[in-house]
């Protein structure tokens, strides 16, 4: 970097750093105030800790579940199901989008079905899937997959169709086959759309897995939430929700890293 920076530029840089620091401080303060107020309210009896729980009660619950090792099993079950639903939904959705892109006739035929399926709340299908597939992890994954697959199809198809005609013509002028056009031009050009789909899908996959776990499973954070509310252990419910928040943040961050890697992909 240039060492001979003007005073004006130095104070400009300092301003940027200061602002960044202030934002971070405020973010932490909000979190601290939220938990602090919650704890104080429970302690002073403004809210009923048995119903609303409190940070210290959640912490004790966490300790006991860590000690028994139980919590790791539940986190693992939910996380692995989310990843499975997310990956399968993205791959399947992209494959269907490729077929629809390659075949104009199929695309026209299937369009109304896609539109309806997209508008349908997929969680309504969860009970049917459980009847068909049984009371197991497979049913949970399929529920998650169903929710993310349609959005992926529509997103990727739009991306594929928006690739400039001349770019395709260029590949064709070299004698490219349809598959080569897809592999060398259309798919790489749609990578930003794929990343967008990933971002949406991770959230949708969470919805699918939690709904699935509400309905079927004997493990997972969704199960803990339902189970805890049934036996009136609100500490367990609140703790599970907190862990879900952390898990969601971790997954989102992972996708942000992928996105950064492809930052210079688009024009």
């Amino acid at each position: 970097m240039d060492r001979n920076l003007s005073d004006e530029h130095l104070s400009f840089l300092k301003g940027i750093r200061r602002r960044k620091y202030l934002v971070a401080v405020c973010q932490i303060l909000i979190l601290a105030a939220f938990f602090g107020l919650w704890e104080v309210a429970a302690l002073l009896g403004w809210i009923e800790a048995f119903i609303f729980s409190s940070p210290s009660r959640m912490y004790r619950m966490l300790l006991s579940m860590v000690e028994s090792g139980e919590i790791f099993r539940h986190i693992w079950v939910t996380a692995s199901q989310v990843v499975a639903g997310f990956v399968l939904g993205t791959i399947l959705g992209t494959l269907v989008a490729v077929i629809l892109w390659a075949n104009d006739f199929t695309r026209r035929v299937l369009n109304p079905y896609l539109v309806v399926f997209n508008a349908l709340p997929k969680t309504a299908l969860a009970p049917i899937i459980i009847v068909w597939l049984g009371n197991n992890a497979g049913a949970v994954i399929v529920t998650a997959l169903l929710i993310s697959v349609v959005v992926t199809i529509l997103n990727m198809l739009t991306g594929f169709m928006q690739v400039e005609e001349d770019k395709i013509k260029l590949a064709q002028s070299f004698g490219a086959t349809k598959f080569q056009t897809l592999r060398k031009v259309v798919f790489p050009a749609s990578v930003p759309d794929l990343i967008n789909a990933l971002k949406i899908n991770i959230g949708l996959s969470f919805v699918g897995v939690i709904v699935g776990e509400f309905l079927v499973s004997q493990a997972g954070l969704g199960f803990l939430i339902v189970h805890g509310s049934q036996i009136f252990r609100m500490d367990m419910v609140m703790l599970s929700i907190m862990i879900l928040c952390v898990l969601a943040a971790v997954f989102y961050q992972a996708i942000a890293i992928i996105e950064k890697r492809f930052a210079n992909w688009a024009e």
């Binding site: 400039e164 001349d166 770019k167 013509k169 260029l170 590949a171 064709q172 002028s173 070299f174 004698g175 490219a176 080569q180 060398k184 031009v185 790489p188 050009a189 990578v191 210079n264 992909w265 688009a266 024009e267």
Partner: protein, 243 residues
Amino acid sequence: MDAIVKLRNLSKSYHSKEGEISAISHVDLEVAAGEFVSIVGPSGCGKSTLLSIISGLIPPSEGEVFVNGQIGYMFQKDHLFPWRTILSNALLGLEIQKKMGRENVAYAHELLEKYGLGDFKKHRPQELSGGMRQRAALIRTLATRPQILLLDEPFSALDYQTRLTVSDEIGGILSAEEVTAILVTHDIAESIALSDRVIVLTQRPCSVRNIHKIDIDRGAARRNSPKFSEYFDRIWKELREDG
């Protein structure tokens, strides 16, 4: 010299629900090997369609096309892929044609070096100027060793100054590499500066209105020749009468 491209009584119509639009009507044209031919015409006439038909990307409605050699295509925009480096962009055609042998790859390297992109092989297209990008796009096509190059207004996306330099540069490269070129443009000066013959088309449905043989020495000085403006005036008049 033998004709490398021959169009006989060529017509093309487009069909839509609203009816039939005739884009090209009975065009006859011969281009000799090594020749540089420009096609000018009123905007919206079927100039680009003509190139697409020559390249085989779309079939004619009527008439015959003879092409004796491999075709390369250059577009208005360079269409370099931002996810590829300049080198790997230049290799795209070879990759698609599965001709990534050592000799061909070396040839692509050689072209990049020869035309001033040697230091930019590892760069992304976003890091290059418009003129350099257009040169890289040309090398991408030349790497597949086409005998005939179709240029579809390849300079029109560039600003005026870059355009003058780049069109002279590319004209030079093409005559050095002895490639037959067919250039579609709406820039009369460009067509006179670059070609052996200028073909003036009529309003849609387009047919050949006139052919001008450009009888001035090739090179950058061409634009300064007194004959240059004579050609310009004649072609401009023909286009205006038609428009």
